[in-house]
Amino acid sequence: MNMFATMCRIEFLKLRRTLALWMVVVAPAVVVLLQLLIWTGARGDFDVDVDLWLAFLTNVLSMWAIFMQPLFVALVVTLVYHLDYASQGWPRMFLLPVPRWTVPAAKLAVVATMVVAATVVLVALSLAGTKLGPLLNERIVLQPDIPFATAFARAGKVLVASLLVVVIQNFVSLRWSSVPVSLGIGITGTFLALFATSWKYGPYYPWLMGIQVIHGKEAAAARILWLSPALAIVLAAATLIYATRRDPGLYQ
């Protein structure tokens, strides 16, 4: 495990000065800004029975889950892997005196950490954005207590539901060096989600799982919360086995 921790440190070191790190802040900020603009321009009265803290967050999470997060994951995973494809870093990584599995596992861990960080940033910016609401639109009246626990629990559910997409993107980027393939899978997956909603098994389409835990049926949402991590674990294990057996000299 020490070597795995070392490889994670190395992966984070490699991310210095990259766009991938900026995306952790930029992607959630865009969604929060959009929601803030919607609120600012709202003409009707806000429902007094609704907790506006959670209303703002739910809208942000919906945009995040269906659109921004899958694209964020595709972009970040592509950037993290491209660092090694572009600079022929794979042989260098596999020549380090560490077990082979630690190389792809560290990448997966780093990407997962970035998704968690982006989710935390999203919640923090959402709450900050909500706080700004009354200054931008006088019809917004906030409840005095900030529902931190509920906010993080909801965001956590979206995060858990999206784990499968994170692992799918990782496998794609590990298997194919091409940036268009990696980004293309993310974009196509996100786009097809629009059509998958009308399908019987649509809620279990990986790119729809995130939104289902917010707006889907309760039973489906509950199932997704164990199905997504379970499938993610299986696929992650398969990815590591694949990476361990594949000749490192063939990564290019």
Partner: protein, 310 residues
């Protein structure tokens, strides 16, 4: 071989890319303290062999022993003792030289001060905080070598290390490698496509062509496999031929006053000259010509190509 001196041994090492054989039955024996030159033309199988030696490719058959143990039994342990530069240096251009070295330092768990030491060794200390994307080709190559040297490995594997270096850089590298082998007992495996480049450095060489080893041994032994030639210009070819036949030289041309005869070494010059002079032949030109390394190398490679075609 004395097992305590054994660093890297391969037996019948073979590898194919799909159905195309890249390396066949390669036997190499590299001992402690060797500067082992691995030479072959482009596409001969040098880099594939190096990738096999480092465990970056899995051989389709054959075995590799590193430091007395099968490579597959303790790959991590072996890599701890190996520093390598394969093909072009794998450097992260957005990171500085120090940050690139920090990656190796963390993985090999060596003291951070080693980073400064290797940067100084490779004359890169002034560029330590410069991003690698601003480096020249030669600087990148030197940083690649610094990465390989960071953990003071027992075996240093360098694939075409002179690429991109200017003549002074090549000379510095040559001196550095000799010093590492002599003073620190480092074993060095050095590949190149130019045999002459290894002449001043390597204690042993292996020539690879068409994926197979065509020669392995010392450079002196290689030179000894090829006879030199005596070039003669005389005033009386007929009389000279008679004198040379008496000395045991056969295969002489039937006529002409200018010819060449095979000769083992430079000492043959005086014997031939004495014989010709005592036979009354005036010698206006007499020179011994040893085939140079490039000629030897090309002869071996062309021979391999001919046998591959036939």
């Amino acid at each position: 071989m004395d097992p305590t001196r054994e660093v890297l041994i391969t037996r019948n090492l073979s590898f194919s890319y799909g159905t195309a054989a890249a390396v066949s039955n390669v036997d190499l024996a590299i001992c402690r303290g060797d500067i082992f030159g691995f030479v072959g033309p482009n596409g001969a199988g040098k880099t594939t062999t190096i990738k096999l030696l480092l465990g970056l490719l899995t051989p389709s058959s054959g075995t590799i022993r590193a430091f007395g143990r099968p490579m597959q039994d303790d790959r991590t342990g072996a890599l701890r003792r190996i520093g390598a530069l394969v093909e072009t240096p794998s450097l992260y251009p957005h990171l500085t030289a120090t940050e690139n070295l920090r990656i190796q330092q963390l993985a090999h768990r060596v003291l951070p001060r080693r980073i400064g030491e290797v940067l100084e060794l490779m004359s890169l200390e002034t560029a330590r905080d410069k991003r690698v994307k601003h480096f020249s080709l030669g600087m990148k190559q030197r940083l690649g070598i610094a990465l390989a040297l960071l953990h003071a490995p027992d075996l240093l594997v360098l694939d075409e290390p002179a690429n991109g270096l200017d003549p002074a850089g090549i000379q510095d590298l040559r001196l550095l490698l000799k010093r590492l082998a002599a003073d620190e007992g480092m074993t060095i495996f050095l590949s190149s496509h130019i045999l002459a480049e290894l002449e001043q450095t390597a204690s042993k060489i292996a020539i690879i062509s068409q994926g197979a080893i065509r020669y392995q041994g010392t450079l002196d032994a290689l030179k000894a496999t090829q006879q030199g030639r005596l070039h003669l210009v005389v005033d009386d070819g007929e009389r000279a031929r008679t004198a040379l036949l008496r000395l045991g030289y056969g295969g002489l041309p039937a006529k002409g006053d200018s010819f060449a005869v095979p000769a083992a070494d430079r000492d043959a010059c005086s014997a031939v000259n004495a014989a010709l002079v005592s036979a009354g032949v005036k010698v206006s030109h007499l020179a011994f010509e040893q085939p140079n390394l490039e000629d030897l190398f090309l002869a071996i490679v062309r021979d391999a190509e001919r046998s591959a075609i036939s």
